[in-house]
Chain length 233, copies 2
């Protein structure tokens, strides 16, 4: 893959960057590949680099001392991740980034972006926008986890994942495919693979989704939205 500076414009933070800045960043970037299951970084590592996913998909997870995981977010192409070290020098990653499929990411030293921020206001704004959006998503998910029942949480999770990493299949209907295992969905909705499996089976019986190994296909998004909003009972 040969990256052009203008490709970086697909990263929200760099959308309005002048060409020369893009060149500069690209010149400082190292391309790192990761096979499925490999890690870009681990929770607790020094956060000396931030990353931009250029191909594939990844997930950000956090573990408790006992090793149980939760899925904080899924990362799609041209999304930035691991940027904690940009703001706080000497920080460690609070989460682990793992490739969901063969992926590649640009790694740039956090300190470099930190310095660049001082002279480039547009970067500040872009970064804050990212953070703000993420804060809002986390607040919502926190509320959902605290107040909603599993079925609804799974519906909300599936819909969120569909919008973030879903692939719209070519064809008549609004079919959205999500390439995630039951385990991934469970970690993203705060439940167990057993419960996810049971709920998906029930939805399949009702014609809302089609399921397969490491795959969920949404046949009836509207029906899922109804469950997510609790309009079904």
């Amino acid at each position: 893959m040969q990256l052009q500076p203008a490709d970086l414009r697909r990263v929200s933070v760099f959308r309005e960057a002048p060409e020369e800045d893009l060149r500069l960043f690209l010149s400082k970037a190292i391309l790192r590949a990761a096979e499925e299951g490999e890690y870009f970084f681990l929770q607790g590592d020094p956060a000396d680099f931030f990353y931009i996913l250029v191909s594939g998909r990844a997930k950000l997870t956090q573990s408790n001392p006992a090793g149980q995981q939760v899925n904080l977010r899924t990362i799609n192409e041209w999304q930035m991740f691991g940027a904690i070290g940009v703001v706080r020098s000497g920080a460690v990653y609070p989460a682990t980034a793992q490739a969901l499929e063969p992926s590649a990411a640009l790694a740039i030293e956090s300190a470099f972006l930190r310095d660049a921020l001082k002279t480039r206001p547009y970067l500040n704004f872009g970064l804050m926008n990212l953070m703000t959006a993420y804060i809002q998503e986390m607040q919502e998910r926190y509320r959902e986890l605290a107040t909603e029942r599993v079925e609804r949480r799974i519906a909300l999770t599936i819909l969120r994942l569909a919008s973030q990493i879903g692939v719209r299949l070519p064809g008549e209907d609004a079919l959205i495919e999500i390439p995630l295992s039951r385990q991934d969905v469970a970690e993203a909705s705060g439940t167990t693979i057993f419960t996810v499996s049971r709920v998906l089976a029930e939805w399949e019986r009702r014609g809302l989704v089609e399921t397969g190994r490491e795959r969920v296909l949404i046949r009836n998004p509207h029906g899922l939205v109804q469950i997510a909003e609790g309009l079904n009972q």
Copy 2:
């Protein structure tokens, strides 16, 4: 209360601000008082102002369509809150801010800080630091809610609240008082007042805390930490 510009230095974002900036911000600020239970703003209101709590305590809550609440954070003196509109013009507050006791806050137009950011790099850094810290806290709490049992979650919540809004009592031991109702603790730890009540009663039997109406007193912080870390069994 007569506020001096230098008082604003107690706000983390303004710590390194020059005196003239502080004067400017103070001149743009409106002091708003709120009795216990009153609101500074409601979830869904246009986020045209951001706030700085100058006295009292407040909480940020989010409700789902059914009206169930979760406590996102508690706000102490000299903390900034409701700053979402600074980054995104036209945004609405994603949460409700309610006074826990008679309180007062400075309200400043979001657009004013947004403009100030363009020419004052130190503000950008301060704001991003705040956001980063908050993101990390939310991620942790999300994981806790997803993976930990109630008793542990309540212990983690109590300890967190103690550090955020606890008052260290003058006296021999490490007594920390937290002026919160069972309802508040329940909303902050994602459970019900019944469960909080039962758990606190059990801790009181074990001599870890003393409880009263709208009050929790930590007698043995170390014991609570043990529960929070799961070292007790």
